[in-house]
């Protein structure tokens, strides 16, 4: 892909923020939606419209603060498209979720410019806070992990993630496969190229970036097979599931944060279904409500049946579980298998219809009879 190479020296973050503020200055976008630093040091999605204020943006922060950026964009453009031009900073899994939400009419991409960011991995939000409290910058750990490899405390879903580089975006801020002190801003669509050209950048091609990405993928492919292999063994049959969901208190927070769970009110929470919850939630004064395994299986497996085909493997369900259950093992595994039988990759392209919205004349013979 063609793009512009930027010198960053030690100041990667400042270079990116300058680039963003130039976007605002040149009136190419009216506002930028990006992770901005808050008083507690954490990042949260926020708006920047004033070119001078872009210093608070922290694009490379290796954490997803609670709700995915895709959900934020969906909340804005759900009813009608934005008139003002909005640049959005998105991690690869954010973009995949965004594309899926476009397919379900939850997001309208008019006037939205997608600025993707390489993502070698993110920390669980609580771990991220601990690193901050210890005083060092999590971003450094990411670069260190990137160069030297080796084990990291990234989230499981990030360790086995198959596209650290965004596929579908106008621009892409890339650091994977680029030597230290440099940054590569790729233009992926005409809009992207027009941006870079307007900013006076010379466009060039970087081969070693693709090689580096490919190498990472090969390594992660094996890890992914191993990870899902273990998950499969662990989740085998009701005993396996019983021990897996032992601590689950059925708070349904995994559903609340899931970017592609777009229903206003989850069917499994609504009165159209709740008859089951009463029947299966044992009420006893000693323990309060105890969710039976049936209720948990109905909720989790039911939700998987609805959404696994569009699961973008972002792993936020695992991060949102107060009981620290490794939920991505379950949802990731089911999603991988279902997406394999339909040969469907969520977030690959906006035109590709999700499996639940269409059907083919000849298919799935093996499931008949």
């Amino acid at each position: 892909m063609r793009g512009a190479l930027l010198e960053t020296g030690e100041e990667t973050r400042r270079t990116i923020n300058n680039f963003l503020s130039r976007l605002l200055q040149e009136k190419m976008v009216d506002a930028i939606l990006a992770p901005i630093e808050t008083s507690t040091g954490l990042v949260t999605p926020g708006f920047v419209t004033n070119p001078e204020k872009t210093h608070i943006i922290d694009v490379l922060a290796p954490v997803i603060p609670g709700v995915a950026m895709a959900t934020v964009v969906s909340q804005i453009t759900h009813e009608k498209p934005v008139e003002k031009r909005l640049g959005v900073i998105l991690k690869p899994c954010d973009i995949r979720a965004l594309v899926e939400l476009v397919k379900f009419q939850q997001v309208n991409l008019e006037n939205i410019y997608l600025i993707g960011v390489d993502c070698y991995g993110t920390y669980p939000v609580i771990k991220y806070k601990e690193i901050l409290e210890k005083g060092n910058l999590p971003v450094e750990n990411v670069f260190e992990a990137l160069n030297k490899g080796g084990e990291t405390e990234f989230r499981d879903s990030c360790k086995v993630c198959l596209n650290p580089v965004p596929i579908y975006s106008d621009l892409c801020i890339g650091y994977i496969g680029i030597e230290k002190g440099k940054l590569f801003i790729e233009a992926r669509t005409e809009k992207g190229e027009e941006f870079l050209r307007k900013l006076g950048f010379k466009l060039l091609e970087l081969k070693e970036r693709n090689r580096a990405v490919a190498e990472i993928l090969r390594e992660r492919e094996t890890k992914r097979e191993k990870y899902f292999g273990e998950a499969e063994k662990e989740l085998n049959g009701m005993e396996g599931i019983n021990s897996f969901f032992e601590d689950c208190i059925a708070c349904h927070n995994c559903m609340e944060v899931c970017p592609i769970c777009f229903c206003k009110e989850c069917f499994f929470d609504s009165d159209r279904y709740s008859y089951v919850n009463q029947n299966y939630l044992e009420w006893n004064p000693l323990e309060g409500t105890v969710p039976m395994l049936q209720a948990k299986v109905q909720f989790h497996v039911g939700r998987a049946v609805h959404m696994a085909s569009s699961c973008v493997h972002c792993g936020l369900c695992e991060q949102a579980c107060p009981q620290d259950i490794a939920l991505y093992k379950l949802f990731g595994l089911i999603a991988r298998n279902i997406q394999r039988i339909f040969n469907y990759t969520p977030g690959r392209s906006v035109e590709e219809k999700p499996p639940v919205q269409e059907f083919k004349e000849e298919e799935l013979k093996e499931f008949i009879g």
Partner: protein, 657 residues
């Protein structure tokens, strides 16, 4: 939510011994009476009998029932009976549910009384759970436009249009070609009556032209169809004729002077027509059209224009790009007819390279008195009168490996006719017919073929023709006679192939526009081959004539009248009643994801742009429930088949006592 004062009555039928013989009806009645909300449980010898129905009516009144369960035979049989009985007693018909304990319980489990009784109770239990949430409904009333659209101007379309118009309905008859008349107008004579087809069809064509109720759209095509039974909105595209039809008198002066000669579709290529043409003498409408591809003036925008100069009524304008008109109709009759395969598909018979190898429709034109040779049989190559003519049956038909597996049905008869007419035209000529089996099953058909064999000395050879090769000015036909077991080589002057009949070209995208199905060979699929051959699966759209499957004129006309009768019956009512089991949307729950919109086959669901909420068009919705299954948040549900009802039925069925 539990309704407080539910009053359900359950009636268990013995059906003589059919049910009572296996299921212990007393125990069932006793068990069911204990169910919540059941205030009356009774078993009776024949519920579907008058006293049985009377018992239902009586109990509804006496015990003020607000729901009835009849546990008897399959709902397909008596659901309607018991619903109307309840309705006559003042209970809404949709507050009645049928539990099938005969076909599904008593009969298949004869000899297993205990389990059968257990199963019967469970099934009735489930029916009760479903009934609890059933809403009282009234049929959805849909307005009716008392107009009919007939697609295809062949004899089928003409007959259907006339019947509907005579019944007082406005008819829009749309014909793709310049004139109506279809294939029948191209024939020389009909079998077995040897009538002149133009003589018997022209009166009907003029009747169409003059009928006040029939609006003829010749040289027009169907652009787009939507809407539903009783309320179809159809866009009809009038193709540009470049001639002002109001002024054109059909005097054909223009055709005399036009320098361009192009193979005529009507004459099937064995004679030419001009760039400006009227298909055939008796054409209706008797108005000229310009074929823009071949007319010099139209192609280059200038030059020629002889026809305009020569036209007495100055009707030729060379301008216009047609128009699109939208009409509203209540019913549609598809009568698009058939096509005949050309000889160029068959390599073994020369790929159409040999001029004297014709398909049967071309030979019809040779035999036709008004044809290019005014009835004289002359060879297209050198104009000589052929003394030896070979007819080959089943070319491309009954040939599953290469072409069509089906039998084209009408060739046996028209080949016999053509052989006979050839003999009348060339008394000393000799006709040979290679056939596999002669199928002459119509009235007077067998006698007709027998006459061809005996009186006209046509030699029938049972066998197929392997190859035809041009030998000098002769056509060497290599065939076989399986009855004598010997190869047969005939040096013929002329060969006529009875090529296979196919659905008319363009039927597949018309079918897509109408959202009706085609079978694997491309014929229109009927609702039921035996019992509903004239209706398509989409209600309000009827099919007639060869478009449904190949048939001769007799059957075509009777089907046309049948389809017309169906349309007339449908449109005889002012309001159409539709099954009220349709989808409904809870706007507070719907998030506007569009799953239901893209999954619905009938396009009955749209997304309301501002509110981003699904809307169901009750007229279009057929109640299949596919949307309910694909909606993640359960916002769209099928009336009386809500998710809650199904869940409760499942719980009832799986309850272990």
């Amino acid at each position: 939510m539990i309704k407080v004062n539910e009053r359900i009555g359950v009636f268990i039928c013995h059906c003589g011994l059919n049910i009572a013989g296996t299921v212990n009806v007393e125990k069932v009645a006793e068990e069911i009476s204990k169910c919540k909300g059941v205030v009356h449980a009774e078993h009776y010898i024949f519920m579907c009998s008058d006293p049985g129905q009377e018992k239902v009516r009586q109990t509804i009144k006496e015990k003020k029932l607000d729901g009835v369960i009849v546990a008897a035979c399959s709902p397909d049989l008596h659901e309607h009976t018991f619903r109307s009985a309840a309705a006559s007693a003042g209970l809404n018909p949709y507050r009645v549910e049928i539990a099938n304990i005969r076909e599904w319980v008593a009969w298949p489990h004869e000899g297993k009384g205990e389990e059968a009784t257990e199963k019967a109770i469970k099934i009735i239990d489930a029916a009760i759970e479903k009934l609890r949430d059933n809403m009282a409904l009234l049929p959805v009333e849909v307005p009716v436009t008392k107009k009919v659209l007939v697609i295809g101007g062949g004899i089928a379309g003409i007959q259907a249009a006339l019947d509907c118009a005579d019944a007082g309905l406005d008819v829009y008859l749309v014909e793709r070609g310049q004139s109506i008349g279809g294939k029948m107008a191209q024939l020389s004579e009909t079998f077995p009556t040897l009538d002149c087809p133009q003589c018997i069809e022209t009166p009907k064509m003029t009747a169409v032209a003059q009928h006040p109720k029939i609006h003829l759209y010749a040289y027009s095509e169907i652009e787009d169809v939507n809407g539903y039974v009783g309320n179809f909105k159809v866009k009809i595209k009038r193709k540009p004729t470049f001639v002002d039809w109001d002024k054109c008198t059909g005097c054909r002066e223009c055709m005399k002077v036009c320098p361009v000669k192009v193979p005529s579709e009507y004459e099937r290529g064995i004679a030419d027509r001009k760039a400006i043409y009227i298909s055939f003498p008796q054409a209706v409408p008797n108005k000229a059209v310009i074929d823009a591809e071949n007319c010099i003036r139209m192609k280059y925008g200038k030059g020629c224009g002889l026809c305009a100069k020569n036209c007495p009524s100055k009707a030729i304008t060379f301008e216009g790009n047609g128009s699109i008109e939208e009409v509203k109709v209540g019913a549609i009759i598809v009568a698009t007819g058939f096509d005949v395969m050309g000889v160029n598909s068959f390599g073994e018979y020369g790929y159409g390279k040999y001029k004297d190898v014709l398909d049967a429709l071309q030979f019809e034109r040779l035999l036709a008195p008004a044809g290019p040779t005014s009835g004289k049989v002359l060879r297209p190559s050198d104009g000589r009168e052929p003394k030896e003519v070979v007819f080959v049956q089943c070319v491309g038909s009954r040939d599953p490996d290469n072409w069509h597996p089906y039998c084209s049905k009408i060739c046996c008869m028209y080949i016999a006719k053509q052989a006979m007419l050839y003999k009348h035209a060339v008394p000393d000529g000799q006709a040979y017919v290679f056939y596999i089996d002669i199928r002459a099953d119509g009235k007077g058909y067998e006698e007709f073929v027998h006459r061809a064999m005996t009186e006209d000395g046509v030699i029938y050879l049972r066998g197929k023709v392997g190859k035809i090769v041009e030998e000098g000015d002769k056509l060497r036909v290599y065939g076989v006679d399986t009855l004598t077991g010997r190869n047969v080589v005939i040096d013929a002057d002329l060969v006529v192939l009875a090529t296979a009949v196919e659905p008319s070209k363009g039927i597949d995208d018309l079918a897509r526009k109408l959202r009706i199905q085609l079978d694997q060979d491309g014929w229109l699929s009927e609702a039921h081959l035996k019992l509903r051959p004239l209706e398509s699966l989409t209600s309000g759209i009827f099919i007639a004539g060869a478009a449904q499957y190949i048939k001769d004129i007799t059957d075509t006309v009777s089907q046309a009248s049948g389809a017309a009768a169906k349309a007339i019956a449908l449109l005889s009512r002012d309001k159409l009643e539709k099954e009220p089991i349709v989808a409904t949307v809870d706007e507070e729950v719907c998030v506007g994801c569009g799953n239901c919109v893209s999954i619905c086959t009938y396009n009955a669901v749209e997304l309301d742009p501002e509110l981003k909420v699904a809307r169901v068009n009750e007229g279009l919705c057929e109640g299949c429930g596919a949307c309910a299954a694909t909606c993640p948040s359960g916002a769209i549900q099928l009336i009386n088949n809500t998710k809650k009802q199904i869940f409760e039925m499942i719980t009832a069925l799986t309850r272990r006592d």
